[in-house]
């Protein structure tokens, strides 16, 4: 029996699992999909919010401010790209200014450092490409950007390096309450654990129901995004939000840590928890709104569009509860969930201690991890030293993002190991560039097939039936 089962390998599950391995190596991470970071974690705004948005005293506010403070150090330990680029919430009229002043006050009360309201002249010095109609903005210098799926992969990987197990393709069908813990069941397999942490995102309500807790409901909220080529990544440097109004929170325009430009999302409440389709109307809306905030966005440089589903709870706040002994819900972790994840993980430990868990720190915990993109950060001399030992570091597979065979092999051999083309893509950026895998996909399949010892046709795009090739030619 494991000490802990963490259900869901998103960024919250990953951070919680890593935090738990500071105390025990008896942690099992359970994931329905064939890879980690497959839900909201892989498709969101990638923002570390400063913390002025959430209502004072809410869990969202507490976790956000604390998480945002912790994020830089955690990213540096885990080798995850992070950049404190600052954020601007822009307004277009007096009403917006009123709202921004309120937000600023709320930010100060929430403990956000350095927030202030600025006007057009100063905005222009920060962002020359700001929209023509923008007259006022809330400036938050502590706003930051991070790569969410990289953070998740790194934290799951680090937890595994410290002894945690990862079970992929394990869809929880039922949970039985057994003597001293829980038995988590899927078709043909089961995991027993003394404690269960429910981080199942969109499905966390279904998981809670399995132990008799029907107190909340999670609904998917669809958000459509467009990602633009790195060529236009420098169009702005801050994250530019829109002042929340009766029309909603609006879209954001932001650079990413990889140097692309991200615009979106829409916000649409839907029923289907798997519906990640994009719509012509949604993308048109993103275009129109973002162009008001930032002028001159070159939409001919869009390299991909995608939809993320936020796991919206029905309480208005994060749902962090303990409905039964040794069972914790971390549900409804919508925005600012990514920003809050490190704080939520920390909070879980204090909840456990309060409930009687004896948290004894391990002396063999190693909280650091080699950066996934370490090779690209080396000097030419260092690269050449490495190439002498491992020439595959000089063989470029992905031409658009200059990703080498060595880096791809490293990714395939490092926890949590990818088993499909998209898994390699998220870990290495191979096929994430302007040609979107046109050149390198056939080579990546070669590497995956040979490393995993499977046939070329067995390799999928993202698990399940997402096959790429059907069989041999005539």
């Amino acid at each position: 029996m494991f000490d802990f089962a963490v259900i869901g390998a998103g960024v919250v599950g990953g951070m919680v699992a890593r935090e738990l391995t500071k105390y025990t190596d008896s942690v099992c991470i359970i994931e329905k999909k064939g890879d980690v970071a497959m839900g909201a974690t892989r498709a969101n705004s990638a923002i570390v919010h400063a913390g002025f948005d959430a209502a004072e005293g809410s869990m969202k506010a507490k976790m956000n401010v604390r998480g945002s403070e912790m994020m830089e150090e955690i990213c540096s330990l885990l080798g995850v790209k992070y950049k404190k680029n600052g954020s601007l919430v822009v307004g277009f009229n007096d009403e917006d200014e009123h709202t921004l002043v309120e937000l600023c006050e709320r930010g100060k009360n929430n403990g956000v450092k350095g927030v202030r309201v600025i006007h057009r002249d100063e905005i222009l010095t920060l962002e020359p490409n700001i929209g023509d109609g923008v007259c006022v903005a809330l400036y938050a210098p502590t706003g930051a950007i991070v790569c969410p799926y990289e953070l998740c992969m790194a934290s799951v990987g680090n937890a595994m390096d410290n002894g945690a197990s990862l079970k992929l393709n394990f869809e929880v069908k039922n949970i039985e309450i057994i003597d001293g813990g829980y038995r988590i069941i899927t078709d043909g397999d089961a995991v027993e654990a003394r404690y269960v942490i429910n981080c199942a995102g969109l499905y966390s309500d279904d998981i809670a129901k399995m132990v008799g807790d029907g107190s909340f409901k999670i609904s998917p909220r669809r958000g459509e995004y467009m990602l633009l080529d790195r060529e236009v990544g420098g169009h702005i440097s801050h994250t530019v939000f829109r002042c929340p109004s009766k029309m909603g929170k609006g879209v954001l325009v932001s650079p990413t840590v990889d140097g692309n430009l991200l615009v979106g999302p829409t916000a649409e409440n839907i029923e289907d928890k798997e519906d990640t389709t994009t719509t012509a109307a949604g993308l048109a809306k993103v275009r129109a709104l973002s162009s008001e905030q930032v002028r001159g966005i070159d939409f001919s440089k869009v390299i991909t569009s995608f939809t993320g589903l936020r796991a919206a709870g029905d309480t208005g706040d994060f749902i962090i509860t303990m409905p039964r002994d040794r069972f914790i819900n971390l549900a409804g972790i919508e925005s600012p969930g990514l920003s809050s994840a490190p704080a939520i993980a920390e909070h879980v430990i204090s909840l456990l201690i309060d409930a009687g868990y004896e948290a004894k720190a391990r002396d063999d915990f190693n909280g650091t991890r080699r950066p996934m993109h370490f090779f690209s950060s080396l000097s030419v001399e260092e690269k050449n030293e490495l190439i002498k030992q491992r020439p595959e570091y000089a063989h470029v597979i992905c031409r658009c993002e200059t990703v080498t065979e060595g880096e791809i092999l490293d990714a395939i051999r490092t926890n949590p190991r990818p088993t499909d083309v998209d898994g390699v893509k998220r870990r290495t950026r191979a096929s994430m560039g302007r040609c979107q895998g046109g050149f390198c996909t056939p080579y990546i399949i070669d590497l995956l097939a040979s490393e995993m010892g499977v046939d070329y046709t067995e390799v999928t795009k993202f698990g399940g039936d997402s096959y790429i090739n059907f069989g041999k030619t005539k």
Binding site: E274, G282, T304, K383, A394, D465, S466, T473
Partner: protein
């Protein structure tokens, strides 16, 4: 390392440039090729139709490439394979990497850019819907089928009627797949007339002009696409939507010159061609850096790539030998119906072929070249189409006789 001439890319353009430079007296040449063999994209173009102009006979892609590979080998022109160029500087330092040498730099006397082009991917098209497996550019599918020997689909819809898409419609059919439709957004095909005939009509594959894909269905593998007719503003007409079940969508929606290295060197690109702006010798705005083939502008036939690359190779040799000659400065202008010209400017009095493409299909039209008000050339054409490259010859005498600094190219109906 120092080299007189470094050529980036060992496809048809790079090889033809190398051969021409060698024949013009430069022996210290190095071709850098990122793939594991010379030949470039021709290696996967196993169909025939290449070489009618250049060699007077019909060859397959690999056969055409082999003709040049043989010349390169016979002349003993050195090349490095599996070698990726990562940077070209304005002062002609080329930085590359490969297994044997790691990351290394070469100071070149002259550089020829011959990196070819890439296909426009799905993301750039921004089609709404799901993101399942089974959506490929036509060239990627071509690589799976012809190079790897695997079938990426059974029931296929093709979006875009570019030549690779048409070729793949036939190829997939011959391999036992069912190609259900080719949809083309424009009211005319993006591919050569001969390919429409030989790759679609001969196999009863329907070509839907003024149609596009408006939705993609399927969670894991593609299950179908919704197509629709578009109006004259290329907006889909809701009432015309039709669902086609299929497991594969191939995209053949245009080619983009691969100019990241060019931009890195600080060379501005022509907004229409997506390639550098060059003079008649195919020299870019930086002296001693030349460009040719599909990296400069997308060609319809490889024969013209070879022709253009020979010009660049010869000119690079002259530059290295100190025989370059910039005696005039004439800008070639276009009227919109002529979308662009290559070269974009003339700096030398010499016989020059000017290549261009038109913006729409024109019937019974004239290609007119003017020096101010003076008509220099007027050439009748029954049909002009965007898919086909056009060519006008300017003789040395005509260029010597020009009075102004501009030469204008137009289509008159």
């Amino acid at each position: 390392m120092k080299k007189d001439l470094v050529i980036i890319g060992g496809g048809p353009a790079g090889m033809a440039a190398a051969v021409a430079a060698y024949e013009a007296g430069i022996k210290d040449i190095l071709i850098l090729e990122r793939d594991n063999a010379l030949g470039g994209i021709l290696r996967q173009c196993i169909h025939n139709g290449f070489g009618l102009h250049r060699f007077g006979e019909e060859l397959t892609g690999p056969e055409y490439a082999y003709r040049y590979e043989k010349m390169v080998n016979e002349l003993g022109i050195p090349y490095m394979l599996d070698t990726m160029v990562i940077e070209v500087s304005a002062d002609k330092v080329v930085t590359a990497m490969n297994r044997e040498n790691g990351i290394f730099s070469i100071q070149a006397g002259a550089v020829i850019l011959a990196m070819g082009c890439r296909e426009r991917p799905k993301g750039a098209l921004n089609i709404a819907g799901a993101r399942p497996a089974g959506i490929f550019t036509a060239g990627t599918a071509q690589k799976f089928v012809n190079m790897k020997g695997y079938m990426p689909g059974r029931e296929v819809v093709i979006l875009g009627s570019g030549d690779i898409g048409l070729i793949m419609a036939r190829r997939m059919t011959l391999e036992g797949a069912k190609v259900k439709a080719v949809c083309e957004l424009m009211p005319y095909s993006g591919g050569l007339a001969r390919n429409i005939e030989q790759c679609l009509n001969d196999f009863n594959i329907p070509l839907h002009l003024s149609h596009t894909v408006v939705n993609i269905h399927g969670r894991e593998r593609l299950e179908g696409v919704t197509i629709a007719r578009v109006d004259e503003n290329r907006r889909p007409i809701k009432e015309s939507e039709e669902y086609i079940p299929c497991d594969t969508l191939l995209l053949s929606c245009g080619l983009i010159p691969e100019n990241e290295l060019t931009k890195g060197a600080g060379i501005a690109l022509d907004r229409v061609t997506g390639g550098a702006s060059v003079n008649g010798e195919r020299e870019t705005e930086i002296e001693g850096i030349f460009a040719c083939g599909n990296v400069l502008h997308v060609h319809d036939l490889v024969d013209y790539v070879s022709e253009e690359s020979a010009i660049a190779g010869k000119a690079a040799a002259r530059y290295i030998l100190g025989n370059s000659n910039k005696e005039i400065s004439i800008t070639l202008c276009t009227d919109g119906r002529v979308r662009y010209t290559v070269p974009q400017r003339l700096t030398e009095v010499a016989d020059t072929s000017v290549y261009f493409r038109v913006a729409d299909v024109y019937r019974d039209a004239k290609i007119v070249v003017r020096d101010g008000d003076r008509v220099i050339i007027s050439k009748k054409k029954q049909r002009l189409a965007p898919a086909e490259m056009e060519k006008v010859e300017l003789t040395k005498d005509v260029i010597a006789s020009l009075s102004g600094g501009e030469l204008s190219f137009s289509i008159e109906i």
